[in-house]
Amino acid sequence: MICQECNQRPATLHFTKIINGEKAEVHICEKCAQEKGEMFMLNGGSGFSINNLLAGLLNIEPGFQQAKPNTLPKKEVLRCKQCKLSFPEFVHVGKFGCAECYETFKDQLNPILKRVHSGNTSHHGKIPKRIGGSIHIRKQINDLKQTLKQFIEQEEFENAAEIRDRIRTLEKEVNKGDEGGKQS
């Protein structure tokens, strides 16, 4: 079998590639395996899933590398307040327990997201219509604040005043929306 990456050297390594929890077999040569190393995991049989990918990703992070248990300082295990999932448990299962986990494991999450989503860590897509109402406005406010800064720098104070009024109106709207949210 020929390596499917370079189509030149014979494939000596047979892996299972995991993307979004779905398996695909990969046959590549050692050189290509080294280059693509982090995305390929050794075929671990049927019990294979996204957590192996996560475990593999985490091993790359400095500080996570094969630390011997007895040399590791006793530290409090990071645990989600809401669902009580610990970070090692997350790595083992590959799935979060609740929405709060995203906040709890924020610092650990960024490198994982970067690898899985080609360097992206923040959302640029749909905003839910109803609960997202204030989010829309806050985004608008942030944009306006940028414009305001520019006007002030350029000493266009008349324009700046206009923008400031618009920001104030929007901020009132956000506050109203948030109160409404609490009541329901």
């Binding site: 020929i2 499917q4 990456e5 189509n7 993307i19 979004n20 929890g21 779905e22 398996k23 695909a24 077999e25 990969v26 046959h27 996204i50 809401q82 669902c83 999932l85 299962v93 590959g94 799935k95 979060f96 327990g97 609740c98 929405a99 995203y102 999450l109 994982i112 997201l113 899985v116 989503h117 080609s118 360097g119 992206n120 860590t121 923040s122 959302h123 640029h124 897509g125 749909k126 905003i127 839910p128 219509k129 109803r130 609960i131 997202g132 989010i135 806050r138």
Partner: protein, 364 residues
């Protein structure tokens, strides 16, 4: 049950319709992953939470009249027979995970089976829309309609920075998985898939066979889907995938042209041999059936075979799987008996096609 009646009940609308570029793209699918706010994800939720999710979504959706979608039938997985579950999986309406490993799983399916919503799978909700041909935009629009309808009453787990929160971080952000199922016999016969797959992977897309195990792609049917769900808008994800698919379509078409030009008679021979096998074999395994069906479908597309409908590939790839064969047989079958049944089923299906044509001839 007669075969005609069975087919009427068994086939989903996407299998019979001919969407854009349906000579190469068999179907387009969009899936949105959503979770309820203030509930644990399915990995950790309690029975009470799971049942509440089912009740809330049932109330919201069951008798709803969503424009262009109509009524959705509610099915609780624990109430289904093993064979019924298998059939839903074979039709791609639910995932194997929902069928086997989701104790509180349920699903809602539209009458034409274009829309299915899985409940309590890996995420609380997975909204899926399945269209014939290359129609990712249409599928996304439809999925958004359902998403908005649900969101009007239900708070989703959503974060300003991370977007829609999903139990697995590989789905976070848009929660969108868009995929197309493509029939690529030309690229397989000309050995081009080996080069194409890594090239497509480099674009952040995933290629895999959907029938068969591991790297084999039975019936020369491949699925291409997006890997990245975070940092790109839904429209961009769908447009990027569409443009890659269009390039693959162009390559498949030119591979077919090249095949016809260089080895017309060999190709025609291959097509007709497979046609003969399907019409006359008495025992046929999944693998051989898939290969022959792929050849015959190619033969139809190239005009060698006339009077056989194109949907025969879609339909028979799905309906000759073990679950469907056993449903048609009315009970469990051993593997060897399945191969006999499969051969019989395919023969009957081709007979039906001939009958339809002669009837069609009488009423022009």
């Amino acid at each position: 049950m007669s075969l005609e009646h069975f087919l009427e009940n068994a086939a989903s609308s996407w299998m019979n319709e001919e969407g854009p570029d349906s000579d190469i793209v068999l179907s387009s699918r969009v899936r949105l992953a959503r979770n309820f706010k203030d509930f644990s994800f399915s990995t950790l939720f309690s029975q009470e939470e799971a049942l509440e999710i089912i009740n809330v979504i049932k109330d919201r959706i069951k008798n709803a009249e969503i424009p262009e979608i109509g009524k959705l039938e509610f099915l609780q997985i624990e109430n289904l027979q093993p064979l019924e579950k298998q059939v839903l999986v074979e039709k791609h309406l639910i995932s194997p995970h929902l069928a086997e490993d989701s104790p509180y799983g349920a699903c809602l399916v539209s009458e034409n089976e274009e829309v299915s919503i899985m409940v309590n799978e890996e995420d609380h909700l997975r909204i899926q829309c399945l269209f014939s041909g290359l129609q990712l935009n249409e599928a996304l629009l439809r999925a958004n309609v359902i998403d908005d309808y649900i969101e009007a009453n239900i708070d989703y787990a959503y974060d300003e920075e991370r977007g829609y929160l999903t139990s697995c971080p590989t789905n976070v952000g848009t929660g969108l998985r868009a995929s197309v199922m493509m029939h690529l016999p030309g690229l397989v016969l000309t050995n081009q898939m080996n080069h194409l797959v890594p090239a497509i992977n480099q674009l952040g897309l995933v290629v895999r066979g959907i029938y068969g195990e591991g790297s084999e792609a039975l019936g020369d049917i491949f699925q291409i889907s997006n890997q990245i769900t975070l940092g790109k808008s839904e429209t961009d994800i769908v447009e990027d995938l569409t443009s890659v698919v269009q390039q693959v379509i162009a390559q498949e078409r030119s591979a077919r042209e090249a095949l016809v030009q260089t080895s017309n008679i060999q190709l025609e021979d291959r097509v007709y041999r497979s046609f003969g096998i399907l019409q006359h074999a008495r025992i046929i395994e999944t693998k051989e059936a898939a290969r022959c069906l792929s050849d015959v479908r190619l033969g139809i597309d190239l005009g060698y075979i006339k009077d056989i409908s194109k949907c025969i590939l879609n339909e028979l790839m799905i309906l000759t799987q073990p679950g469907f064969l056993q449903k048609y047989a009315g009970g469990p079958l051993r593997p060897h008996d399945r191969d006999i049944r499969r051969a019989a089923f395919i023969r009957e299906r081709f007979e039906l096609e001939k009958k339809d044509n002669s009837e069609g001839g009488n009423t022009p």
